[in-house]
Symmetry: C2
């Protein structure tokens, strides 16, 4: 079972204060790049894997989705999502992505924002998603970038000439990474970019687009803090399509 860190009161309190929690999708810098990977949602049956407070679920309905199912492991998140939602076309349910089960061919689009890096068995997850999609349907997701996740001690450092560097190590050592982010002991699962792509291919997806955030964006248009992203990508955005 995945660690349920979002139900940790300290973590949830910190997460609730983030811009993306208060302002929703427009408070997430990567949202325009992620949205650009999405199809026309009109009439689609959509599943959101790790729906959090339901910001995407509500946006999807506004964009014309016929039905949206939001799944999350965190009861606090689901409570918040339900409190923020008044739409019979959206359903929320508790689910552990590590043990996900979905009806076969039940969905026209699978979406996930920054949840898959908490999942240890990504191959099982991708296969479950593939069988839950109708043929030709897209999977669009963001995840922490492996360059961001890999280091044994993530955090900015200084190069010999004083320049800002990201001290990469252990990129090829796949497995758990324990970091202190909002709360101590957050467990994520590092995979190389090639592993993510190959597991998707093995699960029956074609790769349609990769974005290494901020590669798709003009950093000048964003917060100064995001300029660091030119040194190393923070998020990986993936668009796949079920064969």
């Amino acid at each position: 079972m995945s660690q349920n860190i979002y139900d940790d009161p300290v973590f949830f309190e910190g997460y609730s204060r983030m811009r993306r929690s208060r302002e929703g999708l427009d408070g997430a810098a990567e949202w325009p790049a992620l949205r650009a990977l999405l199809p026309d949602l009109r009439g689609l049956k959509v599943v959101d894997l790790g729906c959090g407070m339901g910001w995407f679920c509500r946006w999807a309905r506004e964009a014309g989705a016929a039905q949206v199912l939001g799944l999350d492991l965190s009861q606090r998140m689901l409570e918040r999502a339900r409190a923020l939602t008044d739409d019979a076309g959206i359903a929320y349910a508790s689910a552990d992505l590590e043990r996900l089960e979905l009806p076969q061919g039940g969905y026209d689009l699978a979406f996930s924002s920054l949840a898959f890096h908490y999942v240890e068995d990504a191959g099982r997850l991708y296969r479950t998603i593939a069988q839950a999609l109708v043929p030709g349907a897209p999977l669009v997701f963001s995840t922490e970038h492996p360059i961001y996740m890999a280091p044994s001690r993530p955090g900015w450092g200084s190069g010999e000439d004083g320049r800002r560097i990201w001290p990469l190590d252990s990129y090829e050592r796949e497995g758990p990474r324990v970091t202190d982010w909002l709360a101590p002991g957050v467990v994520k699962h590092h995979r190389t970019l090639a592993t993510t792509v190959n597991l998707l291919l093995d699960a029956g997806f074609a790769i349609e687009r990769l974005e290494e955030f901020l590669s798709a964006l003009d950093p000048a248009a964003h917060d100064p803090e995001l300029h660091d992203e030119l040194e190393r990508p923070m998020f990986l955005l993936v668009a796949g399509r079920r064969h």
Copy 2:
């Protein structure tokens, strides 16, 4: 036009002393992983882009290829290749990958080893290769990994706790990188991994496999110096297939 560094006498002398120049494919640590991406070569018409001393061209013929064309910018390389080859099924020719022209649908397999990072306009190159392949034909290549190429000052560093780190910066800053390797002033062209994948997709290739060397290998079986590769990948291996 690409920099023709392999015709620099100092560079060529240094390159000629490398294991991969003296021993051929078996002297290149990544060869087993690259070979694993290749199809059955029997009866295929093959083009090798950046053929160097022709080691792959000769191997491809031994593996049953019907015809092999080896292309390289370096006259020294082509001279060495011709001197080492006695096979009417292999032809060598001078070509700048930056301005490559190939007959339409003339090949069943395109191969390249560690040459594409010298090319500035990768999109043009991939489109040229796509139209030169018959539908369904593979493109298999290795290139320097963007994590390896990106840093403004590539080279191992030390983390705060003394551990070996790869001081990554400028990953999202695509463009030329000038390094001193075998000779001063070697010009390579950095692209993110996402850019490489997306340019291949745009050129009409499906992605079939990515390997971030050494991810596919057991490092215990290799030279101690290769253990560093667990910290960051040196090469990117790609298998694509023309639609």
